[in-house]
């Protein structure tokens, strides 16, 4: 109960403060702006309601990109982590490259990928996967490496093959770390999706935010941002739920 009440209370408090500051024109006056550039939470909420069809349509596009991007990162990342766990050579050779992949400024790479692969969903998935790959791979690898060497010895003397050791000891040991990686990926994926859409898209929340920015549709822009944040929260919530179902021994 406390876990829910505290953050909800804080959000309510912040919203209330914002409501007062925006509706009295305090923020707009302080920044010498027109009032419509500083929407209050109530205005954003009504924009959210009025534009619900448009927002939902675009949110669905972005959600698809995010889910497919995370899925790709998960498949490639877990595969890579297992391969790196198996092969010292591969780990030593590719670890710096994986770290470097995280330093790629997506703002720069996104337009290039869009030029190469067009305006479709493809380049968005690639960009999101690129961003999510790092936390998933590194956490999965850490999990695999945290296996107790004594357990491995015990399994070897109990006639376990390499794969049996993997499925019965290493994979379950690494699962909690993998879930941590997925949660981090779920937080950064919406940001990656926005950048990917800014580089060139005909739909999606990022695209909507971009065009609203150009048209001073500030309230709807905030509504789209709220939807993105809600998406990230929902993804983390679902991951945590899945973790609790799967990792029952913690």
């Amino acid at each position: 109960m406390r876990r829910w009440l505290l953050p909800l209370g804080l959000i309510a408090l912040l919203l209330a403060a914002w409501q007062v500051a925006a509706s009295t024109g305090a923020i707009a006056n302080a920044l010498s702006l027109e009032d419509f550039l500083v929407p209050s939470p109530a205005e954003i909420a009504s924009s959210l309601w009025e534009n619900r069809g448009l927002l939902a349509e675009n949110a669905w596009v972005t959600l698809k990109e995010i889910l497919l991007g995370i899925l790709c990162a998960l498949v490639v990342g877990v595969g890579f982590a297992i391969a790196m766990h198996r092969s010292r050579l591969l780990r030593d050779a590719s670890y710096p490259l994986i770290v470097a992949s995280q330093a790629i400024p997506i703002v720069v790479i996104a337009p290039i990928l869009t030029i190469w692969f067009g305006f479709g969903i493809g380049p968005k998935i690639v960009i999101i996967a690129l961003i999510c790959f790092f936390p998933i791979t590194v956490n999965a690898l850490d999990g695999l490496r945290s296996v107790d060497p004594e357990s491995v010895k015990m399994m070897r003397s109990l006639d376990a093959s390499r794969w049996q050791r993997f499925w019965r000891v290493e994979a379950p040991t690494a699962l909690p770390n993998l879930f941590t990686g997925i949660k981090i990926a779920a937080v950064v994926a919406p940001i990656a999706a926005v950048f990917a859409e800014w580089a060139g898209a005909d739909a999606g929340l990022g695209r909507l935010i971009q065009s609203d920015l150009a048209n001073y549709q500030v309230a709807r822009q905030f509504a789209a941002v709220a939807m993105l944040a809600a998406m990230a929260l929902a993804l983390i919530g679902l991951t945590a739920l899945a973790e609790r179902r799967v990792v029952t021994w913690r």
Binding site: S151, K153, M154, R156, S157, L158, D159, R168, P172, T248
Partner: protein, 278 residues
């Protein structure tokens, strides 16, 4: 936490369990070490180890902490190859061949928390290709026999220390290997539980004899459980004494360990241990 039933091992029945059918003693189950030495890089840990254990003997290895007794155990099991000398377990010389004949029980119980007690015990059978149901059925008989009935479905963290150790031992036994390699199996237990577990293990080995190599730092434990105890010196470890236990695995442990002969054997072992650690 469930209540530990603190069940005494039931007097070993004559029933045998398919998965862990007591194997008839054959000379093929004997262990021999010839001139075994081992080094990690430049650090030599073991030198000129000569040991013989006939089939179904329980051989104890005691020595000061860090002397390399656990390493010696891993060498016997085939988890590592020694840097020098040869080890034969039931005629098997190579590490892989030795590993096929030895079941290793590590210091900590290392029960896998994602499996129930019975699935942990039956791990070797699953590795050997049995289905989950068959493996559980085979392990169930042993749970009954070794005072673990009713705890089949328990998660490892629901078991007491003694029960975890029993499950870990069953896991080793069920593998059906002729040789068991036990690395300080009861070191983590309190004194009372440890004494109980020693009696329990003694009873288990009376019903289901195997060739056993037991590493321990507890001289009394070694002399109660083992037929013969080899005392190792501090690094570089050599064997400084071999002591025959007067009355191994006696049904009445308390009487056995206070017997005069036992006390003498213990003093002799302690003396060897003290001299060896200098």
């Amino acid at each position: 936490m469930r209540q530990d039933t603190r069940m005494k091992p039931e007097s070993p029945g004559s029933q045998t369990v398919a998965a862990a059918a007591p194997l008839p003693a054959t000379p093929a189950d004997a262990i021999s070490l010839r001139g075994v030495g081992h080094s990690y890089g430049d650090l030599q840990t073991l030198a000129a180890i000569e040991l013989e254990a006939p089939a179904h003997e329980v051989l104890g290895l005691v020595g000061p902490s860090g002397c390399g007794k656990s390493t010696l155990l891993e060498l016997v099991c085939g988890l590592q190859e020694p840097s020098a000398g040869t080890i034969s377990v039931g005629g098997a010389i190579g590490a892989e061949a030795r590993l096929a004949r030895c079941a290793f029980m590590p210091q900590r119980d290392l029960l896998l928390p994602w499996y129930s007690a019975i699935d942990n015990a039956a791990l070797a059978l699953r590795n050997q290709g049995l289905g989950r149901r068959e493996a559980r059925a085979a392990a169930a008989g042993l749970f009954e026999r070794f005072g673990l009935a009713g705890f089949e479905a328990a998660r490892p963290d629901e078991l007491s220390g003694g029960m975890r150790q029993r499950v870990a031992f069953l896991r080793t036994l069920i593998a059906g290997k002729p040789t068991l390699a036990l690395d300080e199996p009861f070191a983590a237990l309190d004194a009372i539980t440890r004494a109980e577990m020693q009696e329990w293990l003694a009873a288990a080995l009376r019903t289901d004899p195997r060739t056993v190599v037991l590493v321990t730092h507890d001289v009394e434990e070694a002399l109660y459980l083992c037929d013969r105890v080899a005392v190792l010196s501090a690094r570089v470890a050599r064997i400084v004494a071999e002591i025959k236990a007067p009355n191994p695995r006696a049904a009445d442990r308390d009487a056995a360990v206070t017997d005069l002969e036992f006390v003498h054997a213990r003093e002799e072992a302690m003396r060897a241990l003290r001299e060896g650690s200098r």
